[in-house]
Symmetry: C2
Amino acid sequence: MDEPGWLDAQEDRAWRGYRRMRRLLDLELARELMQDAGLSEPDYDVLSDLSETPEQRLRLSELADRMLWSRSRLSHHISRMQQRGLVTREVCATDGRGSVVVLTPAGRQAVEAAAPGHAAAVRRHLIDRLTPAEVAALGTLSQRVIDHLTGRPTARSEAED
Amino acid sequence: MDEPGWLDAQEDRAWRGYRRMRRLLDLELARELMQDAGLSEPDYDVLSDLSETPEQRLRLSELADRMLWSRSRLSHHISRMQQRGLVTREVCATDGRGSVVVLTPAGRQAVEAAAPGHAAAVRRHLIDRLTPAEVAALGTLSQRVIDHLTGRPTARSEAED
DNA sequence: GCAGTTTGGTTGACATGTCATCGATCGGCT
DNA sequence: AGCCGATCGATGACATGTCAACCAAACTGC
């Protein structure tokens, strides 16, 4: 079929809308999170991922992979969070090179204090603006894009190009 | 007692998926854009917005508002792009305080060289992964969230909460 | 066991973004 | 005209993210 250069009106609307939504949502969620809980979004994401593990701890590289961050970025960020007492570092028992990021009680308390408000904000600004069908569509659409970008084969509707 | 704020499984899937898609899409589009055109996404956005104006120029504040950037951020960024010869600054004719960001021929050439590849990447990684219905849904859904965040009254389906 | 390579993480230099502040206009008001 | 508060944009200090170089421990093959 025709080699696609540009986006048509509908596609352009979706692309521009998506980016504008992203930006506005980021700004608002970050603003509320900082105001209500004193955490940046990256802070919250780190704490949240850690708190979801049974032992409240993760290898640095494992955490970096989950968050799609570089090890360097995470290492720097953990250093800063460590200064604030939200996490600590431990040497990995099974790998002398490795370090393990551990949630402190203060860190745990911080996420737990932040989580309800943050979830409510996500709901208020995004989820509650969407119909159930749109929520479902966003979920499946995202997953399909993720699969494509991570090299997993997924069908869109009929054929892959 | 479960709080009204939490996300159910479907909503959580949409939210996590959205964020992961965002991140992966950013990484890939930025990577390709840098590799193919030597531009960062912020660079491209600035050049793109400028090139869409009839006179290839915009007041700094006008550009900042369109991009949802702070004036400070844009001022810094324009300085850097100016160093690279992509844009210039002029004093505003109608307002002695103001400055006008102007696309240089080199800047114009840079966007024009970058645009087809970037559009193709957006298509390849996002648009072409979506059904037409999903593209449409993303457009309307985004617009509704934008309207809400910018204080515009919009109905979701029938009533506002 | 042990050299060579790979991997996990840290570090420092640098690029980018944020925040508060500042000087210079502009605009409204008298 | 002359003042006052508001706005525009620049700037510097600082926070954050990126990139490449590095060290130490782990793997590999002999």
